[in-house]
Each structure stands twice: as structure tokens, then as C-alpha cells.
Symmetry: D2
């Protein structure tokens, strides 16, 4: 059997991420009838657990498709022809938001940063001051294809103060970086189970503020009786006492996601954020010590979820990734979408692979793979630098064992 007939032994990509055995067992649980009391209870539990990670008391809708469904639903729910929105673009997902809004007839004002950089909140404030007609600010907290983040902690309050609603793409920050929906006054945040909480793609998590529900309800173009409709969930599920779903739900995804969230919350949100940060720092230290270049312009804007490495001149990232997969049974990823596709190789460290020495495997695979293509790489130095980040002192009683 070739190693291409089964999944790679180690997967470190932009996502879907490696899923823990406990969560896999969750996906493999028996499938109940959708109105079995145990399932209704579970569905509501998932909503509650997601809200806990969003750090919000507002409504959370679990839409039944991968997070891009939630993003599209949020935009289509809030956007009206002729309204003005401020779109903050620092990568491919930001660009996609602009395309969607323009197609809906929205007047889109954009602030664009370099795709290895992030949005300056001062620019946001200035733009909102200049354009009091702006009703909506759209921002990607973590641009997964670039491995960079935007300061939503500052942008959220600025937008709120200016009276604009916000849509925040928190897909790859959710669970790995703070997403303080309430504290930051975010109106719609969208995430999914398939990154830092260690689930798998298939659901959208959407938190919606009362102000956002009002805007949506009064928007004649907001999807209704549709797979894309947040309002269906509000009217048929939430407001009707959570007894009937607006359409059939993805039972297996709910089962597995519930297990992932349990595992996540037993460890704790703060612990998870710290762990993702640690793994990311180890990766970055390793990449630089190996003599490679990080895509992110600055350390402070690098993602906790994924580390993008600039592809060395003259090298095809596809060829390297394919060789690493075939020779070492390790799967890394490219830039995945649009203009990012061939500019980076990404090491994912979200979910279960944020633990233990996974960054060492990813760094060694990347280093060796590039070295096999003739790129000079200091693998040993990379591993040592990463271990300087990951190393932990011997505990008292352990130390005592040392003569």
C-alpha cells in the first residue's frame, strides 16, 4: 500500500486540522433521530459551549455547513443595496468579503494592508470619521492563508463607538486567541470547529447581537427560507423555544463537535490560548533559526493557529509539499486560496497538534524537504531554537532525583 492510499501520518496544514482520538470517537457515536431528547439537549449544549468560547451571552447560531456558510450568511443578512460598509483587507478572506458586498450592491470603502501585514486601528477610526454613513465594518481577525492577525480588540470598540455594526471572521482565531465578543462589542462573529478547538469542518458558529438581529429582520433582502438564512434559525428555532430545527441538521458533525468542545473546555480556554501561542512561537523561532523567512511582517501580527513561511526564491512550494508528503509522510499546506497559493508553505499548529513536540516534526519535515531541493537549511539549529521555547524546567521532586 502506497502511503498515498491513506492519510498522512502527521498533518500540519491550514486546516482541516488533526482531530484527537476522543473527538474522532465523538464523530463515530451512534446517530440518533434528530428529535431524540438526547440530541436536542446536545444541540443546545453545543450552542452554549460555543458561546462560552466566544465570551458572549448573545445568541449563537450553529449553521449546518462549513464556516464560509456563516460568513456568507452574515454578509447577506446584514447587507442591503445602497448601504455603505467599511471593509478591512489584509488578505484573501478580506478580499472575498469585498466581492460579496459589491455583488449585493453595497458601497464598499476599503482599507487595504499589505498581505503580510495588518490593519492599523487608527486608519479605521479615521475612515469612520470621514464616512459617518458607514453602517457596517467587516474584518478578518485571523487571515489563515497568510498566518496574520488584525487587532479586533481595538477595531471592534472603534466601530461600535461610531455606531457601525461589525462582522468578524474569527474562524482560525476562535479558541487559539481571545475572541471577546461581549467586551469588544462585536455584533456578528463567525467561527467553526475545524481549527483551534480541534473539530472538523461542517458547521458554522455565528454569534449575533440584538442590534444585528434587528438590522437583519428589517432587511428585506436577508435570506429567508434558505440554507443561508440566519433569520430562519432565529424564528423557527430560537424564538420558538428550540424545539424544531429549520431544516435537517448534520448530526454527526454535532456529535463530534460536542466532544471536541468538551475536550477543549476541560483544558480551558486560557490554557488553550497559551498553548497555541507557545506552539506558534516555537515554530517561528525554528523557522528563523533554520535560516528561512516568515511571511508575517512582524512577530506581533503572527497567527497562533498557523505559521506561514515564505517560499525561497526559485522553489515550487507544491513540489516541496508533495515531496515531504511522499518521502516523510508529513502533510504541510500551501497558501490555499487565490494570490496566496504559491507564496508560502504553512505549518498548522491548531487543535491537537498544538500539543507536545508536534512543532518539531513540522519544522524537521519542512527543513529536510527544502534541503532535499538544495535550499541551505540549518535543521538542527531550528530544532534547538524551537526547543528553547518549548523547554520546561524539571519539577522540584524530579530535580531531586538528579545526583
Amino acid at each position: 500500500m502506497s502511503n498515498e492510499d491513506r492519510a498522512a501520518i502527521f498533518t500540519y496544514g491550514g486546516g482541516p486540522v488533526t482531530v484527537s482520538p476522543r473527538t474522532l470517537a465523538g464523530f463515530g457515536q451512534p446517530v440518533p433521530f434528530e428529535y431524540d431528547p438526547s440530541y436536542l439537549k446536545r444541540f443546545k449544549d453545543v450552542e452554549r459551549k460555543v458561546a462560552e468560547i466566544f465570551e458572549t451571552d448573545q445568541d449563537v447560531v450553529i449553521m449546518q455547513g462549513e464556516a464560509v456558510l456563516g460568513l456568507e450568511a452574515a454578509v447577506k443578512g446584514l447587507c442591503r443595496e445602497g448601504m455603505t460598509a467599511l471593509n478591512l483587507v489584509s488578505g484573501i478572506f478580506g478580499k472575498l468579503f469585498g466581492d460579496w458586498m459589491r455583488a449585493l450592491g453595497v458601497e464598499v470603502i476599503e482599507i487595504e494592508a499589505e498581505w503580510n501585514d495588518s490593519i492599523d486601528p487608527a486608519d479605521v477610526k479615521r475612515k469612520l470619521d470621514e464616512h459617518p454613513e458607514i453602517e457596517l465594518v467587516v474584518v478578518v481577525q485571523s487571515e489563515t492563508p497568510s498566518g496574520t492577525v488584525n487587532p479586533v480588540d481595538e477595531i471592534g470598540p472603534i466601530a461600535h463607538e461610531a455606531g457601525a455594526l461589525t462582522i468578524v471572521d474569527a474562524v482560525s482565531s476562535f479558541g487559539g486567541s481571545p475572541v471577546r465578543t461581549a467586551e469588544w462589542n462585536l455584533d456578528i462573529t463567525v467561527a467553526g470547529p475545524q481549527k483551534c478547538v480541534g473539530g472538523s469542518p461542517g458547521l458554522s458558529f455565528v454569534s449575533v447581537s440584538d442590534r444585528a438581529w434587528e438590522a437583519m429582520s428589517s432587511n428585506p433582502g436577508a435570506p429567508r427560507s434558505s440554507f443561508l438564512s440566519l433569520l430562519d434559525w432565529k424564528e423557527r428555532w430560537i424564538d420558538a423555544g428550540r424545539k424544531r430545527f429549520p431544516h435537517v441538521t448534520s448530526v454527526v458533525d454535532i456529535n463530534g463537535t460536542d466532544a471536541a468542545l468538551d475536550e477543549f473546555l476541560e483544558d480551558g480556554l486560557e490554557e488553550s490560548i497559551a498553548r497555541h501561542d507557545l506552539a506558534a512561537r516555537a515554530c517561528r523561532a525554528g523557522v528563523e533559526a533554520m535560516g528561512l523567512e516568515l511571511w508575517a511582517a512582524r512577530e506581533e501580527i503572527a497567527s497562533h493557529a498557523v505559521t506561514a513561511v515564505t517560499v525561497p526564491e526559485g522553489i515550487s512550494n507544491q513540489a516541496v509539499i508533495s515531496h515531504i508528503r511522499s518521502a516523510y509522510d508529513v502533510m504541510l499546506s500551501d497558501g490555499e486560496l487565490g494570490e496566496m497559493i504559491d507564496r508560502v508553505i504553512r505549518i498548522g499548529h491548531s487543535g491537537p497538534v498544538s500539543r507536545s513536540l508536534n512543532p518539531i516534526v513540522a519544522l524537521t519535515a519542512l527543513g529536510q524537504g527544502l534541503s532535499d531541493f538544495g535550499v541551505p537549511v540549518e535543521i538542527g539549529a531550528g530544532v534547538e531554537a524551537a526547543m528553547q521555547v518549548l523547554r520546561q524546567p524539571v519539577e522540584e521532586d524530579g530535580a531531586a532525583a538528579f545526583a
Copy 2:
């Protein structure tokens, strides 16, 4: 632990259906990166296997949400403001199609049958003759909430001859009754893994004829850059060599569905259809012998997937279902949607529960449950009648063992 803290021991509902251990193990498999070669291969395998069950060579799109997504995508892909469509309504899903089309500005002509009956193909022919402007015929092959079927084998060719495209909702017939897409000239058939093939909700299977692709491509209103877009799948996936997905796919659903389809196809499509038919006949014989009434007006239009039983006068189906779940740990279902909700109790016999003596459990639970509410029910007679259908002769060598 109350029995409401876990799934019922036996589930016989309209769906999601009970899933086999082998398929559950499929759902619990490791989650690969989406562009791992093993996953790309699997995704294409799923397409091929679905086409085999649709009995077609045309394109099959695996959309990443439950079958209602595929239904909505088909309607939005083919419908244009001002066009004329013929909608065949014999139940709640037929009604939903009409609502969707009217909301898109389609001129909808409807033929409506009683909701315990089916559409007469002669009426379809007549209507098409009267209205040559009809471009599209929409029909539900198997109305799951009512447990009734429409003769798509006749309607498909009639519509095709009249030059109209067809959209067929084959969700609960797929795998349990013939869906001869090619032979019957069906343009778009929509199904899902969560009924007779024994998977779980979360994907839409959509077969699309070349004629349908052409109509969609030239429809300016067809969804594009959207979760609802079939064209995205055609342009970014199929026509581009099946290398990149238009958006992130539901990996766990694909993994499990692949396992379900393998198990299904190893048994064989014809064997599965025969087995679903047998289970359905046993259920109907049992229901009638117990002294209860079938919802379907006639035996010939009863579904292979689910048997709807008319709720006896003065009885709340909810109360009975809830009592059966709590007292006997068996989950049956109501009519699930709209006007059907409180009119029937349904016994599902799709997928794994089409096997062995599952109909006996369902019949006994239903009979006892109703009896507990004071309805006179002949449980023993029902079981014996069902066994008359299921019984099999002793094989030669077995018989020889009998003195």
C-alpha cells in the same frame, strides 16, 4: 442515568436513520488535510459511487450541506424570474418547491394530489400539452413526511419529451427504490446519504445533466461565489480538473459517507431495493393486522423508506411517541414538517434498520405504545403478519437436519 441522556436503543424515524457500526467507524476515521492525496481520491470516489446509485454518467456534485441545500441550489440554479414551471405537489416538500419558485418570480403551475396520494402522469402530460411555455418540471419522488411516492419513471420521460428540464427530489428514494437518472431522462436529481444508503445528514448529492448545466450557466441569477452555487463546483472543481474545492469540504462527512457507500455497494443496489421493499411490506402488513390505518391511500404508492401510520382519532402522536421513547427506548417519528406534523406516526425502515427483524421491534413498540393509551391493538397479529412477509424457508441442508 435516564434513558433520555443517551440516544434511544432503537431508532426508526423518518431520518436521520440508524447508521451501521462500519459506517460509524468511517465517520470516526482520522481527519486528513483536504488536499492530502488520499482525501482527493476519496472525494472523487464518493462522486463516482453516488453516480452509480443514481444510475447515471452525468456529473455528480457533492454539496457540503444536508440535502435541502442541494434542493435549494437546484431551484435557484435553474429558475429565472418570469419563466414558467410545473410543480407537482403531493406533500410538504412539493409545497416547499412552489414557495421557493414563486419567491424567485417564477410563474408556477401546480398539480396537487391529496397528501396521501400521488401525482397522475396523465395529468402531467395534459398540463405540459396545455402549457408549452413550461421549461421546468419539479417533482418529489418520495415524500418522506407522508411515506408516499410519485411515478418519476413515467413523469421524467414525459417532461423530457415536452422539452422541459426536471428537478427530482430523490432524497428518501435514493438507494431504496430505483432512481434511473439516465434511463428516465432526469436533469437534476437530488439525494443525500442519510436515508436508504445508511449515512448521516450533512451532504447533498446532485446529479446534473449537460442540458441543466447549460441552462444554469446562462442564468444570470444562478448563485455564484456562494455556498448555494452549483456553478462554483462546475467551474472551480469539475472543469478545473478536480484539484481544488470551491470552499472547505466537510471531511468527516465525506469519510463516513464513503464507508456507507462501500457497505451499500458491496451488498448491491438491487439487493438493497429488494430489502427496503421487503421491510416496507412487512411493516404495512403488520400495521394493518394490528388494526391500524396506513396513511398512504394505496399500497402501490407507499414508500420503501418509511411507513406512515394514521394517528387514531383523539390521540396525540407526540404523546405516544414520547411515551414509547421513554417506556421502551424506541424512537419513532411524527410527520416532521408543516401540516404533516401531527397527522401520522412514522416507522422508518431505511438503511441498516431495513435488515433483520427491525420491523418487528418498530411494530411492537408502536402497537404497545398505542395500546398503553387505550387504543385497541392486536400486537400479536401484527407481528405474525409481518413475519409472514419476512419468513424464509429452511435451506435444503438445514431441512435435512429435521427428523
Copy 3:
């Protein structure tokens, strides 16, 4: 795929029993190193949970082979050449005990009951009075092949009073009937996970009193440095602080058994005993109403774990069992060992299949199978009689729903 290429859909045999999905997931958990702290903890947890079901505070040894290992280890640990033992024989396992003891040079006195009957405690008292040299009383609490039980609640105290040690085979009573080790003064009780607690064969549970440990320690012939040695477990594991196992343990069996015990104990021991009793009563009522004959001479000595049905004259139980498996995908069992093999067909109702309407499936399969061989069977009457046992009243609020 023939239905003989996979496990039967429904399994109701003497054992191994059907295992719940949750326990199966336990078996499928990752395999840790044996001295991983999580595994050491789990192993000790299993010991504690088993002691809880044995209702004892004395040591529990988890031997690493199916329960017959524990039985052999108990006999070899306590028996010395020339000692006198009283063996109570009411079935095949009782007979096996006698063979083992005689092979070890023990003077064996036996009380034998008919194999469809049970031992009279008064006989035990009389024999102990007559033979004050008896040091050991050996008894099978539940003879699985015959589906009958002995009154260990009376025999245990009688033996204790007479100063004899006891070995009790509680394999198929454990978890389904009371096994009050402490209260009844039992010295060694042996059980396993594969019957009423819903696990799978592969481990022996052995509770050992201090008196039994003393006798074993002073027995020069007791196994040492052997897979059969209880003393190895005492000396290398228990007395040494539970840090190193005497030999490699069956990690997967421990993982799955721990899950089974959790599921069992969450429901509760008393609840489980009541449920096994109910299922057994339903089976017996059904068997008799169908016109078939129970093997057990009297209702009071029938097992909670398994119901043995006398094979009708002129019928081969093998042929019937094989036909039922092939025609209805239901697996029943024969008498399994020695002289019992062809005398009965057994319906197992231990573990998960003690729940819900499983007895109905087993009864219907048995009835139809025999009927297919020409035996006159009242299947409907059997199902109705069983349901009279299983039926439960509608709860208040449910009843209210009835007009």
C-alpha cells in the same frame, strides 16, 4: 456480501454478549504505554469498580485472560493434594471444577443436582456436618449453559460457618444478580466483563479474602511465576504498591472494560439487576406462551442472564440456530459445552440486550425459526405475553395528552 461475512445484526447468545457503542469506543481508544500514569490510574480504577459490583472491600485481582483463567487460578491456588473439598454440581461448570480438583489430588465430595435444577443448601449443611475435614466448598452461582442458578446467598454463610473456604463462579451472575461477597462471606469470587456488565471476554475478575490469601500463600503447590498465579499479583502488584505488573497486561481489554464499568455504574447495580430480571421474565413468559418449554425446572432458579429453552423432540438445535442466523440475521446459541450442547437453545439477555425490546426480537426469531422447521409455535401469543411483562403505564403528563 453474504450476511455470514459480518457479525449478525442481533446477537442473543450465552456470550460473548453484544457490547454497547460507548464500550466499543472504549475498546477503540488509543493504547498507552503500560506505565503511562493515565493507564496505571485506569487499571486501579477498574479494580475498584469491580470490587463495587462484587460488593466487597477485599482485594480484587484483574487477571489477564478470560474468566476461565480466574477459575483455574482459584482452584490451583487453594487446592493441595490430599485436602478434602465439597463440590456442588448442577451443571457443566460444576463438573469441570470436580475434574480440576481431582487432577490435583484433592479428595472431592460432590453433591449433584439434576442439570436443570439447583443445589439445596440443606444438603450442603448436612454434608459439611458429616465431613468436618472439608476445607473448601466450590459452587457455580449461575450455570450459563443451563441458564440456572444456585442459592449462593445461603451456601456462602453455611460454608463459612463450617470453617470452609469458598470458591464461587459468579461469571454470569456478576452485575445481573446480587453477588454480595462480603455479606455472604465468600472467599474467592470469580467473574468477568463479558456478561451482565456488557464488556467482552479477555479478563478475569477475582476477589480474594484475607483467609484465602493466607491459604494460598501457605500452599506450596499454588502457582508462582506463572500466568496462572494469583500470588504473583499479590506480591508483585498489590503488596508492592501497585507500581509494576507481574507481566504485560491486556491494555485494550482494560480500556474497554473501564468504559463498560462506567456505563454500568452510572446506571447503577440495583437498576441493572432489576433490568436483567425483567428481561429474563419477559423471555420466560414469551417462551411459555409460544408453547415451548423452559429448561429450568422452576422459575425461581432461572438465570437473569440467559434463558435456556428445551429443544423440541426431533429437532436439531444446530440446524435451527443456523437457519435463524442465515434467514433472519439473529444469532442465538446452543448449550455450548459438553452434555448441554444439543439439549437447549439459549436466548441471552445480558448486558446491553437486556434493554428495550430486545427480548421481542429474540423470541420472534426463535419462534419463527422453530416454526419454519414445522414446530407449532404461537409467535403472536409469545410477543404479547412478553410485552405484558415489559409494558409500562403512560406517565401522568403523557396520559393527559389522551382525549
Copy 4:
């Protein structure tokens, strides 16, 4: 949740080894009745697959307990009081064999090598020439606690030529090094699923030659009617047409082992041996480049399954192992038994962890762990040396992608 409440993320110990997801799914399969036709077929399949890896046509017995059961059964089956045996001791398992045989009254002649060295076949030949009364030669092919091997390929034929029977402990060589039972004339070889074939402990694989069966049958002391009896398996199972087991089998272990063997054989025996060799060489290169010392005296006698590293002076291996587990979530192992316990730290690379970059994780964990205790370790150099062993050239078409 502390990381001690669940299994370590990475396990590299002497065994039980990490088990692949596919094999874990095998363990989690439904549990059939033992005489379900599907299970009888599976049991026989397992025998056949084991014989294939033993490279033999002789009988294979699958005993129902961890491999030490098979070892004890082999010794007790072949040994008689007063006979003479040659025991080859190069480690703790060799020593154990001697103890067992002496306890049975065997005249044991021993050749003992240093425990980091191996037996010289010339010594075996000389001893057999000197002692023509030797009837049995006992040898451990792979001493797991020391990570060293003996040349059974030479010893087997020498013993055979001298007319002696052989018992070979092949537990940790089976599947990772050649075990040519037929070609080398080995009479009894004992192995288990829990090392290089990637299963879990709970079964013994025992191949038995006709000559060995004869010797056992004529041995009055050979176990009979016992968990330890190979003869029970021969008489009640093999000779009786493989229809009834001598006692209840460990169904879950058989299920999972069958899956492990399938996965193993699909890859191929030769491929597996090459892969285990490669992982072992990478580990040894890494250990030496880090400045640490291998336990094995010479490269040629180092095991493919496990690499033992000498504990640096003044360091407690327990403290280091415990620190690595706690700080890095990686589980290594000590010397496990008797005198080996505190002399080494072992890196296991058997089964699934022989794949991909697992050796890098183990080496980095070991290196960092020792470094944390103040031992000077060149981690980077170790990783680079290991990668020099593991590196693979870029395939043609990949290379072409490099400018």
C-alpha cells in the same frame, strides 16, 4: 485536565506500542457471538496471517493471553523432569526461561552472554557437541528490555542438526526482523501482536512443529484442561476441525489483531522489516550524534524494535522519563524488568511509530529531557544525524520543479 489524565500524545516505549487508527477501529468493532460464522472465519484468518509472518506452514495456535502465556505454555508443554535443556541467556527473558525450566526439574545448561551482547552460535554448537543429552534449546531472538538480538538464523539450524527441539521467543522480532520458522527449523516460536505488527497485548502466537507436538503429546506433565495448555488447542480445536474453542476467546483482541495483521500484510512483511530497520538506524545515529551511549555492544546486534540508551552516570532514568512525560507529553520507557530496570532508557520504534518522523520526536524528547537534568546533549546534531538516515531524494518530477 492534567496531561496525566489521558494517554501521552506520543508513546515510544518497549511496548505496548502505539496502535494505528485503523487497528483501533478494529478493536472497536461490534462483538459477535463466538460461534457466529463471521467470527469463526476471522479466527482462522488470524491463524493463517500469523503463519504467513512466521514464514511457516506448521500449526499456529492463538492462545488467549499476552505472549508470556505462550512462552510459559511452550516451556511447560515440552519440559519434563530430568530432561536436559540448553538455555541461551543474553538478558532478562533468557534468565526467566532458566528459572521456569529449573522449577520443572529440568537439568538446565546455560550459555550466558553479557546483557548488552549476544550469544555466539559457535558456543552453542560446542555445548551441543559436549552434551548429546540436550533435548531442547531455548533462546530469545530479541531481548526487548536490552534492545539486543541473538542470531537465531544460525542457532536454529545448529540445534536442529543436533536433534534438539527449539523454543524461540520472537515476541519483539516478529514482523520487524525475519523469523523464518520453516527455513531455520524452529520448533516452537512465540510472538504476539503488540510489537512490530502494531497490535496490542492480549494474545500469544505460537507456531508448533510436528516434532514438538509429538514431544508434547507424550509428555505426561504437559498442561491439559488448562489455560496453559497447547494440547487443548490441538485436540479440541485443530484436530476437531476448528469448530469449537477449548475455552472462550478474547473476541475484541481477535477483532483488533485481525485489523492490525491486514494493515501489516497490505504493506508487506519485507517492507515492514526494512522500515523497522530504518527507524532503528535513525535512532542509533541520533543517539550517538547527541553524545549519548547505546546499550547494545555492537551495531549488528541492536534490535529493530527498540533502542536502549545507557543512562548517564548519576542520572535516575525514572526521573528523566517522568519529566519527559510531564513536560513534553512523550512517553519513553525504562528497562522494564529485573536487573535492566534502571540501566537504560528505551525508545520504541515498533509498529506505527516506525513510520515517518517519529524517531525525531523520540530523540528530541530524550535529548531535551536529559539536557534539562544537566546532561550535555547535542539535540540538533542528533536530529540531523537521524535525518541523514531517513532522508530520501526528490523524485524525478519533483526535482524538475526546482529551478
